[in-house]
């Protein structure tokens, strides 16, 4: 019976996740994004 359900097949169903690089990028983006409001105007800037 076990031949009908090879281990390799079950791996195709594993859930995926965003790569660590994408997560790192998002966290860096968040840290670098600055929002400044002045006289009713909003400015966005990315500081490296």
């Amino acid at each position: 019976m076990k031949h009908l359900y090879p281990i390799k097949e079950s791996k195709q169903c594993e859930l995926r996740k965003a790569s660590p690089e994408t997560i790192r990028f998002l966290l860096d983006y968040s840290k670098s994004l600055k929002i400044v409001s002045s006289r009713g105007l909003t400015f966005e800037s990315n500081l490296n």
């Binding site: 996740k17 965003a18 790569s19 994408t22 997560i23 998002l26 966290l27 994004l33 929002i35």
Partner: protein, 193 residues
């Protein structure tokens, strides 16, 4: 310990400058949002891009102070992801992308519109064979065929040039075609490329 903090509190902490709260939110919903996008696009790279775009939008909205759905963080992020998936499909409908594979490649069905050397040879042969057949037609029929097919004249012009009525010119053309078909059948000539 952080996993016990609810989303609303994490959002609040993030808005107060705690970047770690964002890391926690992303880690908590990473799998769910990623698989939601993947279930719509079935491509890891596109999913990765859309996931990134989703959170860029989330970060911008939060930092701009436009987020007002307290306690409903995940449905809100999912809605952003859904809208980006829709945008992705709209964009792709305007600019369809074709990729080849081992089984199929687009160049297998696309061909150059220009006449290639082989087709040109066949076409020249057909024109040559047809010229021989036209030469065998009676003079009046041959004249009409040449004016119509080679000089692209209208039947009105042919009638004026040959000094006959349009009906006569049409009749000569009809008999010419009947005779040409007869020659082709008799000689079993194939005039196709």
């Amino acid at each position: 310990m952080e996993l016990h903090v609810d989303d609303a509190s994490l959002v609040k902490n993030y808005l107060n400058g705690d970047e770690k709260a964002l890391e926690c939110l992303i880690a908590r919903h990473n799998q769910r949002i990623f698989n939601f996008i993947y279930s719509k696009v079935f491509d890891t790279e596109i999913t990765e891009d859309l996931f990134q775009e989703t959170f860029i939008k989330v970060i911008r909205t939060l930092k701009l102070g436009k987020y007002n759905e307290e306690g409903k963080f995940l449905p809100w992020v999912m809605r952003i992801a859904h809208n980006l998936v829709m945008d992705h499909y709209r964009k792709n409908n305007r600019m369809p992308r074709y990729e080849g594979s081992e089984q199929f490649h687009v160049f297998a069905i696309l061909e150059d519109d220009g006449v290639n050397a082989e087709k040109r040879l066949i076409r020249d042969q057909i024109e040559s064979d047809l010229g021989v057949l036209v030469d065998r037609l009676p003079g009046e029929q041959r004249e009409v065929v040449r004016m119509r097919m080679y000089q692209n004249m209208s039947f009105k012009e042919i009638a004026e040039r040959t000094g006959v009525s349009i009906n006569t010119a049409l009749g000569r053309m009809r008999y010419a075609l009947i005779n040409l078909r007869k020659f082709i059948e008799e000689n079993q000539i194939v005039l196709t490329d």
